[in-house]
Each structure stands twice: as structure tokens, then as C-alpha cells.
Subunit: 470 residues, 2 copies
């Protein structure tokens, strides 16, 4: 089937865009192209999830923040989606002894939203369907496409399908991307982290949330941790992150209880011992992958967006937001370059690759930070200093989390600014320390006390100690 | 065709090993397995290169050093190969004004060897052929293999081929590795550097080498550089490394001469202007890729070795040496674990992955170092300090290049030791500086000169200047 216009000079007839993947980014993208008047064919490998029976407790929560909201706003969907999300103003840290302490995400009034993934996908499908020039093709699993002709072949369909542009929104394990890998000078990396994740539902208690709902609850426990996000049905979706080798040790229901007793005792009565034993083994622990690649485009034929271009580990809550922002960025470039794909796609790669790589790196950095740094006193002291400086110099010093979550500052500029302010703050602290030491030395020499007799080894170890966190 | 023994309990009949790729590592590996009594089938996609007409000037030089020599020694080939190599004791740095300065690779008596790749491959094929239990299958291009059955299919051959173990020695673009990529938790990265390379032959002058032969000649020119390695036929093989975008600017013979006039004037009379114009356009500039992955094995069925596991950029001269050492490492593990593939392959991954990744990283580090650091005064000062300390503490402080090139210290331990000694030396230098400053301050306060009146901004910029290299 040849959907393509064939005649590139015909301006009256709009070109055909094939969006491969009917997930979050695919459907939003379809709306963007449809708004511009393109004929859009969406190809999704699954059946229509709106028709499928809802599998209770299989919903995964996502975090929606500024970038994603801006992208939804452009197609008039922000309010609908926000109304079905639950605002979270702060993290709530659960210590081992059960005490809870909130840490705000930003300034007063700034919050992120807990969103139900399945529901969001359904809303986006229904929104796409309202455009007369979008055609949803379910049960179309891409087998292959030709980089020469651009023709796509689908599982169980004999006919080849042709479009003017292929948009690969088919996720971390993108079938579209496979053809990119065979080209020379295509940079690619897929990195699995040693941690897996497992989801457990915390039911309502007497029809109410079992914990305070307007928080993202965190149980940090060094090498592993649990988080919980609130759902509209008053459940919490708990996610346990842990190295695969630790998961392998927990083999029986009794061991699950023993494990929770040791690390998350306050969660046992809230989830319920029996439910815990059952949920823990419902599915094996899932792997998490980080994907970076370059370029994002192939000639004027194909472009990768969302997880297909930059799948990331989930520790910054930016996966969906970055994918949604992709749609916004492509849209801006389409405006600038008059919808000429041969100019738009290279420009999209030039602009978006540094940002895609930056946010994938930041997510990986947060994976390390959450486990290793959160307990370092130096790290907490620096967070404190950063927040203080942000209050007195709100435009110069901006905490990393704020730039990522509550602005549309390009991700790679976020990283640059972060490194710059980190250096400035550290130098400032060093300078203060140096001035104190110099002043002290001067006073010591001017008004000498009885001379201490420190052997050189001891002096060395004292110098070393200065470098440890405080 | 089923080469496999099928009966895993039969100890009388040796198992069948399929080596995919009849290049350097493939053939050496075949010899290792054959020495152990396995039936070895080598599958090479090309025709027998010993039968092919020699294409003059297409030979590429490789650098052979300690690790590669040790691996060749084990199958009695070290002396033959060394006799056809040319020892290089030092680098010879060509400055823009034509002056040449040698920098030794190690201590007196330590050298690396310039080796002709095509000839080495032929020698290894002939060596493999001397084993009655090695069978060379040319023109066998692997299409696919099944991770379930282990069956391999080859281009133009209808029959499937089965072996007890598949050894993937099929290079940076390994066909065997493709199946690994489809497995969950397989980490993989391929990174192309912005540089390409191009080879030019420097002919003999009056039957003699045009430059001193016992050196690796280097023309470092910041973002690009040229190197030249001597051949037995008294030619030099020059390789120009340059960003692709720079290559694209040199479009005509005249521009080639102009370019060389500007950057490598001393090389023009040695290569000859006409030959230079011709050779420059014989082939387009070639890309260079760095590949890292993990694991190296798949069950007890398949293992990746050489470039298929860890292709690297050529700036450490370790690609072949690392691949040859792979054979030695697998062989050591085969001894330890009694040739039980189900134990040998995971152990090989455990032991070899950190080393494969370390040398790929070091090669990439050298790519940056060669261009950016070589001209930094701090870098040269530190090289000087390292070499001095190596002389007075030969077992404690060992230059990085020496550990990589002249020892069999595991690559990842090389990196560890390097970081450790770097820290120790830097701390030592810092300590010396601190003692000087403290002593100076004390003297200044005790015997104050007229007090200088330095404004705070100036003091700050002076402090900043201290951080620049000297």
C-alpha cells in the first residue's frame, strides 16, 4: 500500500506520516502532525488497549512535570490530564525507625504529578481519534523497513507500506532503530543497570489513602530503595528497586516478610502481609536500560523520538516528559524550516541529541546519587547551601532538580549551568575556608601559643581527614 | 551438517569448536583449541587470502608488543613473527619546522614491533593448516545462528551447521554478536570518533628507507596527526588521522599539496608530490569505532573474542595484542576448569570483561591525549616526574605506557594502579607546594616586607592563574 504522495512537488496534497508505536509519545506526535494537516497513520503492535480488559494493579505511575505539561498544552490536553493526576509537592523520606520527613521539590506552589500510565495512553488514543486525518492501525507489528525505499513490512501483513516520513516512537527496544544500527558512524549504547524493579500495590485503608497522598514516598536504604506514588483509586503503587542478585535471595513468602521486617517494617501493615507475599512473586523483577544514540534521523525518511531515541533509567521522572518535549521541539523546528523534512530532520538531530544524552546521563547520575550520596553529609550540606543561594539569587543559582523539572531550559544547558554553579559555589566555600585559615595562621604567628610538636605523619593524616565529607 | 558430538558424556570423542572469522584472532584461537585436541572448524567469509593477488600498498601495519608475543609464543610462533617485524625503540616526533626528537617507549632494550597485517594473517592461516584437526572453510559468510539450537546458517549454503561451541572472532561488525544484542541485560556500545584515517605509502629512496626505520614517526598537529610505520620492503606506511569534516575540504590534488605544505612539509619530498596526489584519493577516509559489551558469552554455546568483543580505536597499538591475549586468557581458564564450557565461558566473561573495557577506554583516552594533552606543559612535566620516579622506584611507580605495552598486568589493574600512582604523585607535588607556601608565609610574617596592597579581585585572579598548567 502506498500512502506516500509520490509527487514531492504537489503542494496541495499533504504528505503522509507513519508513526510507528501507539504509546504515549507516538499518539501525542500523531496529534502534532495532524494539527499541521498531515495524513497520519499510527501503527501499534498491540490491540487497542481501550478494548482490553483492565488488569487490576498492573498500572504503572509516571511523573508529569513542566516539560510534559507544556507539550500537552499545545494540543489542548493539559487540563484533562492534570485533573486525573495527583499533585506531589514533596518527597516524604521514611527512615528505618519509621519517622517521616518531607523535602519539598521546589518553591511553594511547585509540584509534580503522579499519573496513571494506562489511563494517559487511553486518553491520548482517544484524542488522536478525534482528528479526521489520523488513522489508528492496531495489531501492526513492524518486521522491517528498507532504508533505500522506506517501505515498511508488518507481521501477518503481506503488503508493504510506504509513507513520506517514518516516525519511530516504538520505545526502548525500537524495531525502527535496528536499521540505524547497520549504518556506519551511528553511535549507540544500551546499558542495563544491575538493579531490577518490582511493583506492589498498597490498598486503601477504610476507603482512604494508607499514607499521605500528596507526597512521593521514599524509603532510601543505600543499595536499594522503595518508592510509592498515589493513584486516583486511593491505592499507592510501591516500586522496589534492588540489585537482581538481592532479588534472587528472596525466594519464599516468609523471606519476603523477613526482608521487609528488616528494611521496610512500617510498610508491612500498610500493604498487608498476605498481599505482600502474593504481589512479590506475581512478576519477576524487571530490568532497566539506558539507551543513547546519534543521529536521531536517517536522511529525510525517518526520525527516532521518545524512548526509541533516549530511553533512560527512571530515577529523574523525566522519561515521558523528555519524550513529550521531543514533539514540541520537532514542532518548533517544523515552523522554522517550513516543514521541509530534508532540512528539519538533520536540524532536529543537531538540536536534540545533546539534550537527549544529557537527560539520560542525569537520570543515571540520580541513580547513583540516590543510593550513594544521599547519606553523605557534604552532599546534604551542599544541597542546603544551593537552596539558600537560590533564595537570595533566584536567577543565578538554581538547584539542578528545579532546572530539570520546573523549566524548559535545554537539558544540556541545565548540565552546563549546574557544573558552572557547582564550581563557583565550591570555589566560594574554598575561598571562605582559605581566608579563615590564613587569618588563623596570621594570628597564631603574631600571638604564638606554646608550639605544638606534631610529627609529620600525623600532620599528613590530619590533612587527609580534611578531605572527608563533613 | 552436524559437527557436534551430541553425546555430552562421551569423553573419548573430543568436542567440535566452530571458530567464526579467519582473521588474526580466529586463526590463533583455532591453534589453541587444536592443541587441546578439539576438532576445529574455521569459517571465513573471504576467499583464502594466500591465493588472492597481492594488492600492493593495501597492507596495514600493526604494532606487536608483549601481550601479543606471549600469546604467539604459546603456539611456538613468536620467533617466526618477530623475524618479519621491525623493532621500534622510540617515537620520532616531527615538529612543523622539520626538527625530529625521539622519545623512547620504555627502558633500554624495550621496543615494539611494526608488523605487516596481511603477512601475519597468512602465517597464521598456514600455522593453523599444520594441525590435522583444524579445517579451514573459506567463502563461508555467516548469515545467522540460533541461540536455542546453536545451528549456524551461511550465505549460499543451504545446510545448517552445528558445533559444540561457537567462537565469534568475526571482528568489530561481528555477525555472531547480533544475537547477543537481542538478549535482555546485554550491555553494548559502539562509538564512532569524529576522525577518519587514510593511508599513504612512502617509497624507499635509492633502495633505502626514506627515514630512520627503527622509529614510529609521529607528526602531531593538534586536531589531526600523521604517523608512519616501517615495512620490510623499506617502504613506510603513513596514516593520516583527521576529522571527517577536514577530509571533506581537501577535494583536489592541488589542495592535498597545499595541505601538506602547511602541516607536513618535510613529508612531501619523501612521499613524492605525484604519489601523494594519487594515494590521497585512492580510498575514502575510513571510520574508526570503539565497541564495548558485556557479557562475552552466551550460555555454554558461544563466546566473543578479539574485536567482536572489544574493538578499539587504534591509538594504543593494543587491538591485536588484546585479541591475542584473549586466547591466552581463555586457555588459562580452560586449564583451571577442566574444559567444561558451562563453567569456562561465565568465568571468561567475569575475568575478561573488565580488561576488555579498560583497554578500549585507554585507547580512547590516548586518542584525546595525543591531540589535546601532548602540548600541555603540566602534562609533559608530569610525564617527566613519572619517568624519574620509575627509575628510582621501578616496582612502585610504573608509567602507564609501560604497564600496557611491556607487561601482562591485567588492563583493569593497569588503570587502577595508574589512578593510584597519579593521586599519590599529585598529592606529593601538592604537599611540596604547600610546605613551600607555608614556609614562605611564616617567613613573610616573621620578617615582613613593606605590606603590598592587593585588591581582592586581583588576589582572586592570581589564585585562578595558579590552576592553569605550567
Amino acid at each position: 500500500m502506498d500512502y506516500s504522495t509520490n509527487d514531492s512537488k504537489s503542494t496541495s496534497k499533504k504528505k503522509v506520516v507513519a508513526v510507528v508505536g501507539g504509546g504515549l509519545v507516538g499518539n501525542l506526535n500523531a496529534c502534532y502532525f495532524a494539527k499541521r494537516g498531515f495524513q497520519v497513520e499510527v501503527f501499534e503492535s498491540r490491540e487497542d488497549i481501550r478494548q482490553a480488559k483492565i488488569v487490576k494493579g498492573r498500572s504503572i505511575n509516571l511523573v508529569l512535570s513542566h516539560r510534559g505539561r507544556q507539550a500537552l498544552k499545545h494540543v489542548g490536553m493539559e487540563d484533562t490530564i492534570i485533573s486525573k493526576g495527583i499533585p506531589m509537592h514533596s518527597r516524604m523520606i521514611h527512615a528505618l525507625n519509621g519517622t517521616q520527613s518531607p523535602i519539598p521539590y521546589g518553591k511553594k506552589g511547585q509540584y509534580i504529578l503522579s499519573i496513571d500510565r494506562a489511563n494517559l495512553n487511553k486518553e491520548l488514543l482517544s484524542a488522536a481519534e478525534t482528528y479526521p486525518n489520523i488513522n489508528l492501525n492496531f495489531a501492526h507489528k513492524l518486521l522491517n523497513w528498507s532504508t533505500e525505499t522506506g517501505a515498511m513490512t508488518f507481521h501477518l501483513f503481506v503488503e508493504e507500506i510506504q509513507a513520506d516520513l517514518i516516525v519511530g516512537c516504538d520505545g526502548a527496544f525500537s524495531a525502527i532503530r535496528k536499521q540505524f544500527l547497520r549504518q556506519s558512524r551511528f553511535n549507540y549504547s544500551q546499558t542495563y543497570i544491575p538493579h531490577g524493579y518490582l511493583e506492589i500495590t498498597m490498598p486503601p485503608i477504610n476507603g482512604e489513602f494508607a499514607m499521605k497522598p500528596d507526597y512521593l514516598h521514599i524509603w532510601p536504604r543505600n543499595t536499594f530503595m522503595m518508592i510509592a506514588l498515589p493513584n486516583l483509586d486511593k491505592t499507592f503503587n510501591c516500586t522496589l528497586f534492588m540489585p537482581f542478585e538481592e532479588f534472587e535471595k528472596v525466594t519464599t513468602g516468609d523471606k519476603v516478610i523477613e526482608f521487609f521486617q528488616k528494611y521496610f517494617p512500617d510498610a508491612i501493615p500498610l500493604i498487608g502481609a498476605e498481599a505482600l507475599k502474593r504481589d512479590f512473586f506475581r512478576l519477576p523483577a524487571q530490568a532497566m536500560v539506558s539507551v543513547k544514540c546519534s543521529s536521531y534521523h536517517f536522511g529525510d525518511k525517518c526520525v527516532l523520538m521518545g524512548d526509541a531515541a533516549h530511553a533512560m533509567v527512571p530515577f529523574y521522572g523525566q522519561g515521558m516528559n523528555a519524550g513529550f518535549e521531543d514533539c514540541l521541539v520537532l514542532n518548533e523546528i517544523m515552523d522554522q524550516l517550513n516543514e521541509d523534512f530534508s532540512a528539519v530532520l538533520p536540524e532536529y538531530t543537531r538540536v536534540r541529541v545533546p539534550d537527549g544524552q544529557a537527560i539520560a546521563d542525569l537520570a543515571m547520575y540520580n541513580y547513583v546519587e540516590m543510593r550513594e550520596h544521599v547519606n553523605s553529609k557534604w552532599f546534604l550540606f551542599r544541597k542546603y547551601v544551593d537552596n539558600f543561594l537560590h533564595i537570595i539569587m533566584p536567577r543565578t543559582i538554581i538547584p539542578l532538580y528545579t532546572m530539570v523539572t520546573f523549566t524548559r531550559t535545554r537539558y544540556h544547558k541545565v548540565v552546563k549551568h549546574w557544573h558552572w554553579q557547582d564550581k563557583v559555589i565550591n570555589q566560594g566555600l574554598l575561598f571562605c575556608a582559605a581566608v579563615s585559615v590564613a587569618g588563623g595562621s596570621y594570628l597564631l604567628v603574631r600571638y604564638p601559643p606554646s608550639m605544638p610538636n606534631i610529627p609529620i605523619e600525623q600532620l599528613w593524616s590530619r590533612l587527609q581527614a580534611l578531605k572527608s565529607p563533613f
